[in-house]
Subunit: 203 residues, 2 copies
Amino acid sequence: MKDPIEFHFDFISPFGYFASLRIEGIAARHGRTVDWRPMLLGISVIKVMGLRPVMETPLKSDYLARDVFRYARKHGVTFERPMHGRVDSSVTAGRALCWVKRHHPDLMADMGARLYDAFWRRGCALATPQEVLDRAELPLGVDPARFLEGMTSGEASDLLRASVDASIAAGVFGSPTVIVDGEPFWGADRLEEVEAWLQTGGW
Amino acid sequence: MKDPIEFHFDFISPFGYFASLRIEGIAARHGRTVDWRPMLLGISVIKVMGLRPVMETPLKSDYLARDVFRYARKHGVTFERPMHGRVDSSVTAGRALCWVKRHHPDLMADMGARLYDAFWRRGCALATPQEVLDRAELPLGVDPARFLEGMTSGEASDLLRASVDASIAAGVFGSPTVIVDGEPFWGADRLEEVEAWLQTGGW
């Protein structure tokens, strides 16, 4: 069994959302699974790289806002959320996903995709634990109270912190970043290249 | 006759070099010409955007160094220059190209490609006017002394400054950026998208 491909993303990132719609299919076509790895752009971009948030960066913010809609039109993706999310608004969702990944790993991919869908396509708020719970559509067998307690626990906080640290240690700075057998690809616009790499084994 | 496509680039940029190898072919296949527009990342990135030079940015510098070689292998491009050029080392070449563009516009594309080739593929220095002259391979009919005088003139300085200002006014922040009928595409990895846009008229 080949290693899973690593999908590093921040729920705040629209290009991460776009990648979330395709990453499982890409992996499945090449006999891989996906390891969903929440990270925080507020840590990597601002604290480690010393940059400002991209939507507060002159020129680039205008380009990216345009590019997001261009990508969406090309790929037939619709979304409701405007392009000015606060960078800390993905912490709760990230903790929730980390907790699920630890305690119900078989729910990881669906939960990741569902939270992304709620945040970007449907424009739902995910800032509070209750909002995350409301959008998580837990299956029978997972106790909502335990999920709520879990995502607000010190354990979930530690898990997300470890996930962010591991992303940075792997050289990840942007969302999405897909790592295939140690080879990193940054950007939703590189998913075709990810697929070519999986197909050929690299170049 | 359709408008030229705008090719905004900094000679310091390896991805700009990669684009310089393909941009004329892409344009020609769609009945377009190319307007070569030197810009300076030292102005757009550092002064306007308030960022640090990318090769001094943690995480991203490592990724880009890797991505440059990956692109080069994929496209069969070789180059001699290491990835740590000083951001001001393209000013002289930019001024020279602006002067040529004004006084010998028919030489613009060849001169742009030749200076890029000298700088990146052959690893030549282009910091001084003499170095630029030595690599320019001027055709008969262009006086080397006049070219040398031209690229060091106030006129050339003003022309480059105007070119940089026009790039920024057009929203350009990175190299390469290709603008097709007002639609900007940032990155050598978007040249396929540029070609699709030229082919289809956009989406």
